[in-house]
């Protein structure tokens, strides 16, 4: 079994109220030296079999259509190291 990780982030030009809320909280906690926070999502997609090129391509398709909205979000994908030989 392999795990494919998909990270999704709002595009830089899109407002991120959640990240701003976290930034505000850091300020209240007295954390200094932080200029900005952007919040994203991480999906761990557990495959039934190995991370073959076909299986990864399928996750890529899912990432681009369902997991991320390409209008406002960028995504990246990697296979968890432990999953490569599994």
């Amino acid at each position: 079994m392999a795990v494919v990780v998909v990270d999704v982030m709002l595009k830089p030009e899109i407002l991120d109220p959640q990240g701003q809320a976290v930034l505000g909280a850091l300020g209240r906690l007295g954390v200094e030296g932080v200029r900005g926070v952007r919040q994203g999502k991480r999906f761990e997609v557990e495959l039934a079999g190995a991370a073959t090129p076909e299986a990864v391509a399928e996750v890529e398709r899912v990432a681009a259509t369902l997991l991320a909205n390409p209008v406002i979000e960028d995504w990246s994908l990697h296979v968890e190291p432990s999953g490569i030989s599994a």
Binding site: L10, K11, E13, I14, L15, P17, Q18, Q20, A21, L66, L67, N69, V71, I72
Partner: protein, 225 residues
């Protein structure tokens, strides 16, 4: 009138259609045909719990394949609030809706300007006319990249704009947009909640409280014409 699991304004939308003189036909998210309807309303609510992103899962509901196909052929489609989010996720409308910049749920009578009055949903209004209808959402900030926004403005496709203060951080005060042809319109405010005196916005707002009704009367007129 499509219901998804988690839709909550579907009955109000059906009621608004009935009051306007239309016959509302309930469609279920798992339906594979539109039962020959003359127009589609995607109502407000929290389809599929708004998990992942609002509208993201509803977009893949079986009924949406039909809605997309017919919309591309010119069927009038109106998306209200969550319905607007679904239309954006389905790429029938550009842009997307994200969390309000205030990070709070906003519920109030909202003043709006009808910018585009040549769509089947807005033809009963005068271009530039100001109306007051309820707005209630947590994820109502309309966003898109600058090029898309310029395109929308240039082509006159901004359908409705907030007036008297931007309630949620929507780029360029956009409350609703349309596709190029005009048959697909989406907006965050709820015209179906302003169709009966005393049940809509407070008359002290200076309006009749029924400012939303013409969305539904417009579409009937568009079909009759």
């Amino acid at each position: 009138m499509v219901s998804f699991p988690g839709s909550l304004d579907d009955r109000d939308a059906a009621r608004a259609l009935r009051l306007a003189g239309a016959e509302p036909v309930p469609l279920w998210h798992a339906d594979h045909d539109l039962r020959g309807v003359a127009a589609v309303v995607l109502p407000g609510g929290f389809s599929y719990g708004d998990y992942l992103r609002c509208g993201a899962i509803a977009r893949f509901a079986p009924v949406m394949a039909e809605v997309v196909r017919e919309a591309e052929r010119g069927l009038p489609v109106l998306g209200i609030c969550n319905g607007f989010q679904v239309l954006c996720e389905a790429h029938l409308l550009p842009g997307a809706l994200i969390r309000n910049d205030s990070r709070t749920f906003v519920c109030r009578d909202q003043r709006l300007r009808i910018e585009r009055a040549d769509t089947p949903w807005t033809s009963g209004y005068a271009p530039g006319e100001e109306v007051v209808i309820p707005l209630k959402n947590g994820e109502g900030a309309y966003v898109a990249d600058a090029r898309t926004l310029d395109e929308l403005e240039g082509e006159g496709r901004v359908a409705v704009r907030y007036v008297g203060g931007n309630p949620n951080g929507s780029y360029r005060d956009i409350a609703g947009v349309s596709n190029a042809r005009g048959n697909v319109v989406g907006l965050m405010p709820h015209p179906e909640h302003a169709v009966e005196p005393l049940y809509g916005p407070d008359p002290r707002s200076g309006t009749s409280g029924t400012d939303g009704q013409r969305f539904f009367i417009s579409v009937l007129a568009a079909m009759a014409g």
